[in-house]
């Protein structure tokens, strides 16, 4: 009982002493880098439509995503994306490029354990939950959509 009290007091003391992240500069960097990634995406999309007028908007979107994923994986491979992430935080994690980085980085890391047990198994250690929640929530939304469409 006394231990519990001491631990609680100690935890309170430590959390008060922990150096805090400066929220505003972090948010600012996050905002402009995240925004820049989106602008690049929009730019690729517009250039595609300009260069290939036959292309439908749907196909241009798909090609834009592929291009962004490729760029992010490439930057991960040459060791640049983690530097961007260190600076921008959420700004480079939230866009699809962050998702690409979260799959490419464990693939590089666990190459030493072989293709099957290393790369293929470990590839989704970080992105896995995102995919699971993505699929699960889309099922829930789909169900709600179906129920509404009945009336």
């Amino acid at each position: 009982m006394e231990d519990k009290k001491r631990n609680e007091a100690y935890n309170q003391y430590v959390s008060a002493k922990i150096p805090k992240t400066h929220a505003w500069p972090a948010l600012f960097n996050s905002f402009w880098v995240g925004g820049l990634i989106c602008v690049i995406g929009q730019g690729i999309n517009d250039l595609l439509l300009l260069a290939f007028p036959m292309l439908s908007q749907q196909s241009a979107w798909a090609l834009t995503l592929i291009a962004l994923i490729f760029i992010a994986s490439f930057l991960t491979g040459i060791g640049v994306y983690d530097q961007i992430g260190k600076f921008a935080g959420g700004g480079s994690i939230v866009p699809i490029t962050g998702f690409s980085n979260s799959i490419a980085s464990p693939s590089i890391e666990f190459k030493s354990e072989g293709i099957v047990y290393g790369i293929c198994v470990k590839m989704f250690t970080i992105a896995g939950p995102v995919i699971v929640f993505g699929v699960a929530s889309s099922m829930v939304v789909g169900l709600i959509y179906w129920i509404i469409s009945l009336f």
Partner: protein, 329 residues
């Protein structure tokens, strides 16, 4: 009761060796290390193999430094941070002497020196090698995230040192003497934030320090230097506060290897950590200063966090320990 062992014959540290990575070589202790690697791979295919090679080199280096040959070594006591302490065991595989694996996380250096000096003091072994190391990239991958993942490190986090340190304990030869050993209890004050090791380990340092001072009837002023391992910036500040609550003032003769290890421009937030942190500082800077008689009596007490990724994921708090040894010039 935690006893302090007073060594009757006072074994000596007759050789020491340190090897570090390039980032560590640029740190505050850079000029004192015996060997600075050009890159983290050390000519190997994986970081784990590089860590192993680092330990092998540290063992070979220290035997040479002590002017001994491999056949003169009776036993080696070593440990590291990887699961099943593979770096130490695999390093021991290439040598032809018995091996005792120990694990005290970042306190392993003091633990192995403690056990070694008891073996030597008791007359059971003549020359004992102690070796400990860690590698930033293997530790990151075991405990945290892939290296290339673009995430931010929390402000309390510390940087695992790539490096290995080793020493030879013996009764014959010249060198600083080990006079006392206080092994630590396992202490847990309920911190479960794995990014705040300093906060988790400080109570363990407090416990061992109090026990040591009580048992030996000494205080901070009786030592030229009191050195903790890798409490870091935050943890060492917490320890100073905790000791103040006990009426003991840690003044300018108190230091922490982790806090001092890197330069501020190297952006390691709360400082260095890892088994290699205090091992490389102790087996370079500290031993040299003792040999030069700049320091006469040092209390060396690194702490270790005895957690695993499984215990963390199951929401457990972090148990920690701290072993203290006294070295006199």
């Amino acid at each position: 009761m935690a006893e302090t062992i007073k060594l009757k014959k006072q074994p000596k540290i007759i050789g020491s060796y340190s090897i570090v990575g390039p980032k560590e070589g640029k740190g505050n202790f850079g000029e004192y290390f015996d060997y600075v690697m050009k890159n983290d791979f050390f000519g190997e295919k994986t970081f784990e193999k590089a860590e192993r090679k680092m330990l092998e080199n540290a063992i070979t280096g220290v035997i040479q430094n002590a002017k001994l040959q491999t056949k003169d070594i009776d036993i080696m006591i070593a440990g590291d941070l990887l699961n099943q302490i593979i770096s130490s065991s695999y390093a021991a595989r290439v040598f032809n002497f018995p091996f005792l694996g120990v694990y005290g996380a970042c306190s392993t250096m003091a633990e192995s020196i403690g056990v070694a000096s008891i073996l030597v003091d008791g007359g059971y072994s003549k020359n004992v090698v102690c070796c400990t190391g860690s590698h930033f990239s293997t530790a990151e991958r075991q405990y945290r995230f892939p290296l290339e993942l673009g995430n931010q490190r929390p402000p309390t986090s510390q940087w695992t040192v790539t490096g290995a340190g080793s020493c030879v304990i013996s009764l014959e030869g010249e060198g600083p003497r080990i006079t006392m050993v206080t092994f630590g209890k396992v202490v847990d004050w309920g911190i479960n934030d794995v990014n705040n090791m300093g906060g988790a380990m400080a109570p363990a340092a407090r416990e061992t320090m109090l026990n040591h001072f009580r048992n030996t009837k000494t205080g901070p002023d009786d030592y030229d230097l009191i050195l903790t391992g890798d409490l870091g910036k935050l943890g060492s500040e917490i320890l100073i506060d905790l000791m103040e609550d006990e009426g003991i003032t840690l003044g300018s003769n108190y230091g922490d290897c982790g806090q001092m290890y890197f330069k501020r421009s190297q952006q390691t937030l709360c400082g260095a950590s890892g088994a290699g942190c205090c091992a490389t500082v102790f087996n370079s800077f500290i031993i040299k200063k003792l040999q030069e008689k700049k320091y006469k009596r040092i209390l060396f007490m690194p702490t270790g966090a005895l957690l695993s990724t499984t215990s963390t994921q199951q929401g457990d708090t972090i148990p920690c320990t701290c072993h203290a040894i006294v070295i006199e010039a």
